[in-house]
């Protein structure tokens, strides 16, 4: 019988948010129809983009690879349905800036003929590296929202002894029910997937962390575990406090240790995986089916019929919204992800990608946006809310002052952008936006530093090559400083336009001379190929 424990040790800060899950809770997962046109971006994961392995006009079947993984940290991309490839071009992809990225566009023919890989039902006998290659080949990535290539995450190496595998079924973000519905309808797939991952990592027991308020899913999971009669699974119920589902907070609650700053949970010997990822692992290994579809929650009072849909990767979002009855009212916010960490889509022509777990269309007054930001009164509500123990008001203060040094002193890069601080800020300041911007500026600053060091090395190398010394002794400096001040004086005797015309004439003459020489040389080589043309360049 699986042992169920209740975790009492909470993490710091966090918010008890209203769940708003009743719109799609308990609804069965419907199969979304196949759209006429599929837009599949080549980069749907963290790491290098996949390399195209097909050409325009080629007929592909569902599950056929259209982009192979180029690197350890990369994942393959597959056709989500059968059809002919009509274009490989830059198309709008789901990103806050609405930028375009290379995509493969498939005109579906509706037959949905599929082509999978050989199924491996008894995976226990297989080597963990072969299983990992299968996962990379099937393009399995983390479906919790980070889209981190699963094969990379499950890298087993004796040096990093992994002793705990956590299945993250907490789903603490409001409105989202995709994990929950998957738990209700297909617990066996999830448990099999978990078993495969446990085998790959050679971990004694796996832990399933589930939120307090997900009683129905807990019941169905318990039944499946009894049927599955596996001794290696432990269920842990965690408080349904946002952001309990965040990897760092989950690891802290279950193992009591904190992931070192800038490090990964694997440094503590812990790996976390999402519920949907486990299902995808099951399909990839046991059924031999690459990742071509995923469960997406379409919810919010702004959509006519909210649903949990199993959607083909690459389905345009507009198509999905029309399938769910279209929007209620006109002016709308379409959020990809939850209300806390999702982002507003600037363009609904973009497709559903592997990381899309929810499309939220709030009603007119359901999620009233923040009012005009007022100055920060340093009240400290955000300090109590921050699960990482940062000082959001000091980070905001230094980010506004563009003081990159102080911002990093206050540990900006430990911020997990969970949104708790901006949600409790009485001055309604979009704090997370400031931190994203500050992180960006630090990255630009770092890059400038790198380029400057490179340039300095090349400059010094050139000086040593030419045998010169950077003229830094005092006498030359004064000469240079003096000359720098009055240098523009001497050639100003001519008037500006005289100089202009002189310059142009000189240039034209030089070009003409050069072209003539080239012409002459051509004649010479035509007449006597043996001429070696070493008449020396009169520079």
């Amino acid at each position: 019988m699986s042992i169920i424990e209740q975790v009492h040790q909470r993490f710091r800060g966090g918010l008890a948010l209203p769940k708003h899950k009743e719109l799609t809770r308990g609804k069965p997962i419907l199969e979304a129809p196949i759209p006429p046109e599929l837009i599949i971006p080549l980069r749907q994961h963290v790491g290098e983009s996949a390399a195209v392995t097909v050409h325009v006009g080629q007929y592909v079947r569902r599950g056929e690879q259209i982009g192979r993984a180029t690197d350890f940290l990369s994942a393959a991309v597959h056709a989500s349905s059968s059809g002919r490839i009509i274009a490989i071009e830059d198309r709008v992809t789901p990103h806050p800036s609405g930028r375009k990225e290379p995509c493969v566009v498939i005109a579906t023919d509706g037959e949905d003929a599929s082509q999978g890989l050989p199924p491996w039902p008894n995976f226990h006998s297989l080597e963990h590296s072969t299983l990992r290659n299968r996962l990379r080949q099937c393009g399995v990535v983390g479906l919790g929202g980070a889209a981190f290539p699963t094969a990379a995450k499950l890298t087993y190496s004796p040096r990093r002894s992994i002793h705990t595998l956590i299945l993250n079924a907490v789903e603490c973000e409001p409105y989202l029910t995709c994990d929950e519905s998957l738990l209700l309808e297909r617990p066996q797939e999830i448990l099999n997937g978990l078993e495969i991952m446990r085998h790959i990592l050679q971990v004694p027991t796996a832990v399933i962390a589930i939120g307090e308020n997900m009683s129905a899913s807990l019941a169905s999971l318990k039944e499946a575990i009894d049927a599955f009669s596996s001794q290696h699974v432990r269920i842990v119920v965690v408080p349904s406090l946002y952001p309990a589902g965040s990897e760092h907070q989950l690891v802290q609650m279950i193992t009591g240790q904190e992931v070192p700053s800038g490090g990964l949970p694997s440094d503590l010997g812990v790996v976390t995986q999402n519920v949907a990822t486990a299902a995808a692992v099951y399909r990839a290994v046991i059924l031999g089916e690459p990742l071509t579809s995923r469960v997406v929650t379409i919810t919010g009072q702004g959509i006519t019929q909210p649903h949990n849909l199993r959607v083909r990767i690459g389905t345009p979002i507009q198509y999905l919204l029309d399938f769910c009855g279209g929007a209620v009212g006109s002016n709308h916010l379409v959020i990809m992800g939850g209300p806390m960490m999702g982002f507003a889509l600037p363009n609904v022509a973009s497709p559903v990608v592997k990381a899309t777990n929810c499309l939220l269309m709030p009603g007119a007054d359901e999620l009233p946006g923040r009012g005009a930001a007022q100055p920060c009164i340093r009240c400290g509500f955000c300090v109590d809310a921050c699960p990482v123990g940062l000082l959001p008001q000091q980070l905001y203060w230094h980010a506004r002052a563009n003081d990159l040094e102080a911002v990093q002193e206050h540990h900006l890069f430990d911020c997990i952008e969970c949104g708790c601080c901006a949600t409790v800020c009485p001055s309604q300041i979009p704090l997370v936006q400031y931190y994203r911007q500050a992180k960006r500026e630090v990255a630009v600053h770092e890059q400038r530093r790198e380029q400057a060091t490179l340039a300095r090395e090349r400059y010094e190398h050139r000086l040593t090559r030419l045998g010169q010394q950077a003229d830094t002794n005092l006498s030359q400096l004064t000469r240079l400083a003096a000359s720098a001040l009055d240098s523009p004086g001497d050639d100003f005797d001519f008037s500006a336009d005289e100089l202009q015309t002189a310059e142009i004439t000189v240039k034209q003459a030089a070009i003409q001379a050069a072209l003539d020489r080239v012409q002459a040389k051509k004649q010479a080589t035509l007449s006597s190929p043996a001429n070696d043309g070493n008449d020396g360049e009169s520079s």
Binding site: P375, W397, H398, R400, A401
Partner: protein
């Protein structure tokens, strides 16, 4: 005896602090906010100079000037004393940080200018002069100097941190920079006025 020493210390530090009450050494105070990384070392440097200066000044006064009755030479002698002390204190501060390389030097490059800071600081000369005037004895002058040093350290640190915070405040353009800094120091000394009356000597 002890209470008078402690009251001298508290007086120097809080009540009639050299900077805010006797309005001396303001050049360091006004440049402090720009020296974000240097201000602790300037304050520590001036503190060390104050204490050593007070001690040596008393010795000079009593063993050299008094026997030969040349107290009139106090000002030049003290000025030269400060002149000699400034670089000594700076090298003292830096050397103390361990053998060759000092963490201090790599971290705070402006230390090149530190001795000019200590030299031009008026507070040191003022304290020495006041000590020579009230002439309560060796330990009294040391405690007064130590009090002034801590008072100066607190005010400099406070001003530097406040100045850094003002850099971001949405101050009207006319008041940006020095004016708002002066107003802030004014309000701070308004608070310190409350501590007057500690010393009834």
């Amino acid at each position: 005896m002890v209470t008078s020493l402690s009251s001298l210390f508290l007086g120097g530090a809080l009540a009639n602090s050299v900077l805010l009450y006797q309005l001396v050494g303001w050049d360091t105070l006004l440049t402090a906010p720009r020296q974000r990384r240097l201000v602790q070392w300037v304050a520590a440097g001036v503190g060390v100079m104050l204490i050593i200066g007070a001690a040596m000044a008393w010795l000079l006064d009593h063993w050299l000037l008094a026997p030969w009755g040349v107290q009139a030479l106090r000002l030049p002698v003290f000025a030269l004393l400060v002149g000699a002390l400034a670089p000594v204190c700076k090298t003292l501060l830096l050397r103390r940080q361990g053998p060759g390389t000092s963490l201090l030097r790599e971290a705070y490059p402006q230390l090149v200018f530190l001795d000019t800071f200590l030299l031009t600081n008026g507070a040191v000369l003022a304290v020495i002069w006041v000590n020579a005037d009230i002439d309560l004895g060796f330990f009294a002058s040391i405690s007064y100097a130590a009090g002034s040093a801590t008072g100066l350290f607190l005010v400099l640190m406070g001003t530097a941190a406040l100045g850094e915070r003002l850099r971001v405040a949405d101050v009207p353009v006319v008041f940006r920079g020095l004016p708002i800094l002066l107003i802030t120091i004014g309000l701070m000394s308004l608070g310190l006025l409350g501590l007057s009356g500690f010393i009834n000597h």
